[in-house]
Amino acid sequence: MEPLLKIEKLVSHIGLFTILHDVNIEINKGEAVVILGRNGVGKTTLLKAIMGLVKSKSGTLEFENKNIIERPTYEIARKGIGYVPEDYGVFDLLSVEENIKIAISKKTTSIEDKIAYIFDLFPDLKIAYKRSASTLSGGQRQMLSISKVLVNENKLMLVDEPSKGLAPIIVERLARALREISKTTTVLLVEQNFALACAVGSRYYIIDEGRTVKNGKVQDLVKDSNLQKKYLGVT
């Protein structure tokens, strides 16, 4: 079976600086894969490179067997890749309702059912639906950011550090929501919170200094305290 997303020897840069030197990842349909690594190793850049938000110099970046390297961001999104950035990407000048409606693609059907599903997953958004997005808390902004992806039938969901800056109780709720989402959508999750990563992912890749250095099953990583200590700083 061909992987849904295939990345080989990817080299990406921001301005003059090469951030990703050699990234190799394969994700199959239906999987929940986590990208782990310390701060500044290139995890966020990897997701941006997949979305075409940062330039890639060389390597392979294929989605459903089609090259998406150097394609414009909107074309990559239209192929069915949803992106939840680490800074949420919420539009403060719009209401919560408008933030969701702007995300609905022309291909999307059963919109009412999807909004009902979102409200079921994140009841906070139902209460705040008509409010300006600028009034939302950090946790609610994260929920809205995820909802903007869930409102469409995406084949792959890229989620960047959803736990960042959130209270533990909100992180727990997000973990539940992401587990629920991963039952129906392929998820690539970048996360520093080891507990959340383990709760959501079945396979992992570790990135260090812009290179994928390890990969395997999350359940094996949980048992390997040396690997955790070496690359993730988990003690």
Binding site: L53, A77, F91
Partner: protein, 288 residues
Amino acid sequence: MDIFLMLLINGLAEGALIFLMASGLSIILGLMGVVNFSHGTLFLWGGYLFVWAYTNSNSFILGIASAVIGTFILGALLEVLFVRKTYGKVTAQILITLGLMIVFTDLVRLIWGATPLVVARPDFLAGAWRFGGAVIVHYRIFLIAVGITVAIGIQLLLTKTKIGMIIRAGVQRSDMVEALGINIKIYFTLVFTGGAALAGLGGALFAPLVGGISSGAGMSNQVLAFIVVVIGGMGSFIGSAIGSVFLGLMGALIAWYVPQLAIVANVTLMAIVLTFKPSGLFGLAVKK
């Protein structure tokens, strides 16, 4: 009281003209991050196209339509051929739009000559009402009505349509709009050409107000529009509307009561706003 009413009407009419120019400039700057120094030339072309078409056809409506359509097309050409290549490169934008301003202003001189063109107001807008010592010119009331109509139209477009939603979202985060599968560049072109047509309309309506058009009109009105953008806040439509009205009223009142301050008033106001609220009165406190 009569004089105050006259100054109020004069100020609001001036504000309406400034608004037609500043609203497009502000949204172009907010959405596309383009510092567009060629905006004044579109105002100028609007004025000359209007005078040319109105003089030849004797139809005020046809004159306005020529200005709006002509500057819409010119705006599209400028965006596609020049401005598009400079997204994200501020220095290049300033240089290329300043260059376009110079070239297209000289083109106006080449086509219509360096001598200002004279134009009269149409008969149906040529009169005035007198209240005691005050004279209320019909044409100024017409300008206010056009300004209000355009402002309501743009506000409805921005708040009630998906296009407006995308533009408002794009002003804040154009990269995240793209990540939703929306080709923001199409909206960039739409906003640029829409802003160009508004500037052209402004130029067309300006000419009969002052009795003609000269090749220096673009630059002087552009300066006013930039002051409004600074006062109102980059990318804020409401800010540009309120800033324009404020500048128009202030100009009318100061020109009447303290004319010796007329030249420095606008710049002083801009300096005060920049000192105490650098993002403008309605500036967007959002990540760009």
